[in-house]
């Protein structure tokens, strides 16, 4: 069977601009357009290749700025790699921002409906699952209040609930679990086990090595945009921890 996600030789570069780059038309007229051009490119990701088969869970570990979130965004179809390509077969459920892409002025319900549609459902399908989503997120009382009145934990719970109730073929989760309390974390992990068992591929970024070690089958280790190692979660987490301890020992 074809893997759900195939990442081949993916590179993503960012542009570094002049500090005096004009940000308004007014400045551009005054300073000229010369400084609009980027000074250099730097690679946020370089030569990344791996696959995620159905029903497998892959953890991504690495220091801050190593490209973990960029990688998840690209797999989610936000932006496009500068080299290589990414193939994704199936519906994506994602929780990449703690705010889940919610708009602060809209209510929890309005945001949840839009998020469900953005996860690939029709409005009707989202409404059918609404009770389940709300019960899972434990936000019944606040549902019709603006999201800005939600605590960050509540926002995360609602975002997570939508993402896991849309029958995704692939689930992308970035750091979200660290916001919830222990009991909710457990609930999330249980739910992820469930959808994993039904064949969903899961990609998980977490700073807590124990989460990756306990929950993931495989892991990849990113450092400065490069893939350092990939393999079983236990091995990679051990290597990563050893590497980090070595780095901080100097």
């Amino acid at each position: 069977m074809d893997p759900i996600v195939t990442v081949s030789n993916v590179g993503k570069s960012y542009r570094r601009y002049h500090p005096d780059r004009p940000g308004t038309i007014q400045e551009a007229v005054a300073k000229g357009l010369r400084r609009m051009r980027h000074l250099e490119r730097f690679w946020g990701l370089r030569d990344i290749s791996f696959t995620v088969p159905a029903g497998r869970t892959v953890g991504i570990v690495g220091a801050n700025g190593s490209g973990k979130s960029t990688l998840l965004r690209l797999i989610g179809g936000v932006g496009r790699p500068d080299t290589g390509h990414i193939d994704v077969h199936g519906r994506i459920g994602a929780l990449l921002d703690l705010s889940a892409g919610f708009h602060p002025e809209l209510t929890g319900r309005e945001n949840a409906i839009l998020a469900g549609i953005l996860n690939g459902l029709t409005r009707k399908q989202v409404l059918e699952r609404m009770d389940e989503i709300v019960a899972f997120a434990e936000v019944e009382d606040a549902l019709d209040n603006p999201i800005r009145t939600f605590s960050s934990g509540m926002q995360m719970r609602l975002g997570f609930a939508v993402a896991v109730h849309t029958q995704p073929d692939i689930l992308l989760i970035d750091e979200a679990l660290s916001v919830g309390d222990i009991s909710f974390q457990k609930k999330c992990l249980d739910r992820m086990q469930q959808i994993k068992a039904s064949g969903c591929a899961i990609l998980l970024v977490s700073h807590e090595s124990s989460t990756v070690e306990d929950f993931c089958d495989d892991a990849i280790w990113l450092n400065a945009g490069r893939l350092i190692a990939q393999g079983s979660a236990t091995d990679i987490v051990r290597q990563y921890q050893a590497g980090m301890a070595g780095a901080s020992g100097h």
Binding site: P22, I25, G101, E105, L118, R123, K124
Partner: protein, 265 residues
């Protein structure tokens, strides 16, 4: 056969899904604009009416323009231009004001300027009954030519998109685009036959009115609504060609730029 049926079902599902996405985003756009304002959508309807009163006072009463059915003539122009102007203005925010959508998986960013133009179309359509009422009061009979109205709306939609796409991109780099745009749009308002007739413009300026697509657009609306006749063929053809060309060029540029939106907003 089952494979074919399955493919058809997938198609139908995808269509329903895209329709719901568009509807939800348009509703979101409108809700966000009026959240916290008591009169809500009424403001948008009052705006062209207020403009109508002011311009009618200046040109109808003080300067005594001799265009027959001047209020209806004026209001047609104001509504048609109004949709264009507010959409292009709001298009500056189509990307930068939707940061949370641009950075979220599942959002086809090509749709964002379409949402802006469509949510302003809702206002335009809500204003149409006022225009029809004005036509009836002025004893201008509606003929079957008015059935072409949806076609003209579709053309205007494409024309506005042709401006909305590039404006959304430029504002990603230059955040003061809206200020410059406001001046340009005001200038364009006066250089489009909204409260005067093209025929009264001096000969040496006529070229501008021939190349300005809005001239032909406003004239086409007036033809089907006020004169009860088909739009002038040459002008209409030019309008359609220009609208589609601008839209395709704008879209191509926007698509290229969109790969970096998430990095730049």
């Amino acid at each position: 056969m089952p494979a074919l049926a399955a493919r058809r079902d997938t198609r139908i599902f995808e269509w329903a899904q895209t329709r719901d996405l568009l509807r939800e985003l348009i509703a979101r756009d409108i809700k966000l604009r009026y959240r916290g304002s008591m009169l809500g959508i009424l403001w948008t309807l009052l705006n062209p009416l207020a403009e109508l009163l002011v311009l009618y006072f200046v040109f109808g009463t003080v300067l005594q323009v001799t265009i027959p059915n001047f209020p209806a003539y004026l209001f047609t122009g104001l509504l048609v231009y109004g949709w264009f102007q507010t959409s292009v203005n709001f298009a500056t925010g189509a990307v930068v004001a939707n940061r949370e959508l641009v950075r979220r998986p599942g959002v086809p960013v090509l749709i964002l300027p379409i949402v802006t133009v469509a949510s302003n179309l809702v206002h335009f359509v809500l204003s149409l009954p006022i225009l029809i009422g004005l036509l009836l009061i002025s004893h201008v009979p509606l003929t079957s030519a008015a059935l072409l109205l949806p076609g003209l709306i579709a053309i205007e939609f494409v024309l506005i998109l042709g401006f909305a796409y590039p404006v959304a991109v430029v504002n990603v780099w230059f955040r003061d685009t809206q200020h410059v745009l406001r001046i340009a749009l005001q200038l364009l308002f006066y250089m489009t036959p909204i409260f005067y007739k093209t025929s009264t413009v001096p000969q040496n300026l006529q070229w501008w009115y021939r190349i300005n697509p809005l001239t032909h657009l406003v004239d086409a609306y007036r033809a089907v609504l006020m004169r009860g006749e088909l739009p002038e063929a040459g002008g209409l053809t030019y309008l359609i060609v220009v609208s589609i060309a601008l839209c395709l060029i704008g879209l191509a540029w926007y698509r290229r730029a969109s790969y970096r939106f998430a990095d730049e907003v």
